[in-house]
Subunit: 450 residues, 2 copies
């Protein structure tokens, strides 16, 4: 909101008296992208990473609530007063549906998790803030993450004044050689590498997936450098090719190296804002007492939001219960939808930019998730985005927004999650016209050198 013309008063503020995070380029990016999308509401958007709405139904919500209340009564022996108290009153900081989330992890990920090591959070965003807040003791603590990477992690780190140290991505998801180099560089700078954040399965924005060998190597590096791993897994269920899903890092973790971050935003629905963190690490106090890290994280959470809304947990819990806590089962239709859309986008690109022709356009082929990255022979920047929205009616995301600094200047991210087959075809037609248009222009020297 711009309120220029308004008269300033003595109690008003200037940006230099507000936290530096508010000047972060990542925030300006997000605002710019939202603003462009708002200006071109009729454009076909291959930009947002939201889940499909095709199978949501408002009538489901009261049924989920009832189902959870029935569960409290039948399986927990709660009387009516206790059910009422559970939904309406404050609850424990650690959460209400920890056991249901542990059952989900057992059924869908083969993880054997003690419900007491789960903390339910207001979306995965709060889980990241809680974990980083616990780990950031002073200005020496650093979190590493893949670049290009998820902007939410950057935001969470800014909230606790923790520097984010980038690690290069390669086709396998992470350049593990660069990870080791950066760990050495962090130490050489007198800092402490506390954790490495990544999305091993179908990352946002790249769609990359770590293979099994890389997963084992990453765990070995973490042990060698006494590093915790923050494994974020919002898209793992959405595999687009046949065959077994790969084990999560947490499933391979025999040394309690991994904090597993979960989100129900894509697998249940975003409007419940339910995320969680599994933290089975032990914490040793000076008096010799030992607690679970999950208990310490719960204390942090209690100081941020007291507890995750019980009504929202109850609704998500009801959906979990309807599918015996399998989110693979709950998302049977969505898994097919995202798979179909990913294939339509990949096939559609191949038809419009045939192999062997000199169009200078290439793309990756993720085996699941929501995103495809396209490389083009021009600067896929904010100006190109606005130009394409205005002239051709198509929206996408410049990859440069996912790099902390330089990178991705001639790449764009396409999201396949909230578009119909018809929109995919029309959107790719429009994108192809934009690419043909801009490929004729001279490339700026600094991007053509990439």
């Amino acid at each position: 909101m711009n309120t220029s013309g308004v008269e300033l008063m003595a109690a008003d503020l200037s940006t230099d008296r507000l936290h530096a995070a508010l000047g972060d380029p990542a925030l300006a990016s997000m605002n710019f992208l939202n603003e462009v999308a708002g200006r071109f509401p009729e454009a076909i958007s291959l930009a947002p990473g939201r889940p499909s709405e095709d199978y949501y139904d408002v009538e489901d919500l009261p049924r989920y609530l009832r189902r959870f209340c029935d569960h409290l009564a039948a399986e927990k022996g709660a009387d009516a007063a206790s059910v009422r108290r559970t939904l309406f009153q404050y609850g424990r900081a650690k959460g209400l549906i920890n056991d249901l989330l542990a059952r989900h992890l057992a059924r869908d990920e083969g993880l054997d998790v003690d419900p007491e090591s789960v903390v339910v959070t207001v979306g995965c965003q709060e889980a990241m803030v809680v974990a980083l807040r616990a780990l950031r003791t002073d200005e020496h603590d650093v979190v590493l993450t893949v670049s290009p990477g998820y902007v939410g992690l950057t935001g969470a780190a800014r909230m606790v004044d923790m520097p984010v140290w980038p690690v290069r991505e390669d086709e396998g998801g992470i350049d593990l050689g660069d990870l080791v180099d950066q760990l050495e560089a962090v130490r050489a700078a007198g800092k402490r590498p506390r954790a490495f954040y990544l999305v091993p399965d179908f990352a946002n924005p790249s769609g990359a997936r770590l293979d099994l060998v890389a997963r084992h190597e990453l765990l070995a590096i973490a042990a060698q450098y006494d590093l915790l791993i923050l494994e974020d897994n919002p898209y793992g269920l959405f595999q687009a090719v046949d065959g077994e899903r790969l084990p999560t890092l947490k499933a391979l973790d025999t040394g309690r190296r991994v904090l597993y971050l979960g989100s129900l935003s894509k697998t249940c629905f975003p409007g419940a804002r339910i995320g969680f963190v599994v933290a089975d690490q032990r914490v040793l106090a000076p008096d010799g007492g030992i607690t679970l890290l999950a208990d310490e994280l719960s204390k942090i959470k209690s100081m941020l939001t007291v507890n995750t809304p019980p009504v929202a947990q109850a609704i998500a819990g009801g959906k979990l219960l309807e599918h015996d806590c399998s989110l693979v089962e709950a998302n049977a239709r969505e898994i097919l939808l995202y798979r179909r859309n990913l294939h339509l986008v990949l096939d559609g690109l191949a038809r419009r930019f045939p192999h062997g022709e000199d169009h200078g356009v290439s793309w990756n082929t993720p085996s699941g998730g929501f995103f495809v990255v396209v490389t083009v022979p021009f600067a896929a920047d904010d100006a190109a985005l606005e130009y394409g929205a205005d002239k051709y009616g198509v929206l996408w995301t410049p990859m440069s927004h996912f790099y902390g600094g330089r990178g991705g200047e001639n790449q764009l991210r396409l999201s396949v999650s909230v578009v119909s087959p018809e929109e995919i075809e029309a959107g790719l037609d429009r994108l192809a016209m934009l690419i043909a248009d801009l490929s004729g222009t001279e490339m700026p020297a600094e991007t053509s050198a990439l």
Copy 2:
């Protein structure tokens, strides 16, 4: 959870590698109080500050949801797809029910608030974190608060590494002379006093209320010292005496000095976890652009929790709509219940400790809210609490827990909000037995000198 006996692994942590907030005495206090309450489930508890559950009904929740959906359709012209998207998808960081909260403030507090200056948060706790995170730019920024004070504010400040500077309370709620002294002391220490947090109406734990003259004086001091005021108003509706309610500080604020923090936990229900902050201050950017502080706080919020659960906002919104956004009207029964209970406790104390007799017991007489403070002729400490729970079956809260350091050693807080008349009578009988028992003991030198 104590897991001693477990074998530690290299990835486990020690407390010195976790954030210092986890060693805060305020946290240990809360844990101790919860632990004692858990050990004596049969005791009559005059401890918790939770709202009454007497009028909650699980069947209300689907009706609130429907009411909010009808409102979206009828008043906002939303079609079915748009209603579904509003409830199930992500939403804007600033919130969904800002207009309904502005109507509540107009109806119940006489406040004329632009909905765009409201940010909806996950309970008032997140509102405090968001406000302090924005204001804390470096180690020089300090927040002042009344002592004894609300522990939630201390927790929020710990999350952003911001020192809390105590100001003395007097019978009128705040010792304004001490406020000025402390502001001078903060400056003399090379620090910046950024804000003063208080609950002007029926404070937790003291029940104190600022009179109208003090409200005006406080605003004048804030202007003089270029201080923002964080006004938290969870109990203002619950006036226990006839006559007009006092205007909020925000209603008296002609200079945008006040950030108003709201909570629906007591006036709607805690399980929705809906709070909010009104921030109509302007923010000047280096380029001359002017934004609303609420927009800056929304950016902070987006980095903490993305947005407040739309399903929880919809439920709270439905309850607001059922009462044309008047929470005074929605709480007509609760206002009478708390009023009755407060009178029962005050009358019950007067009968058990008659005026003019030499029992050494006195108490304040709040004109509303949930709390009464009793002064006793012995140390009302954790040992006395445990002793009373075990021997007499009564629970209360040692006032010392609400002081950052020393203070309140021979005072206890009684809460009137979740007890029946029968429990109040029996609880006061038991408390009187405990007081008689402990009054016979010799007082420790350091507390008798207070």
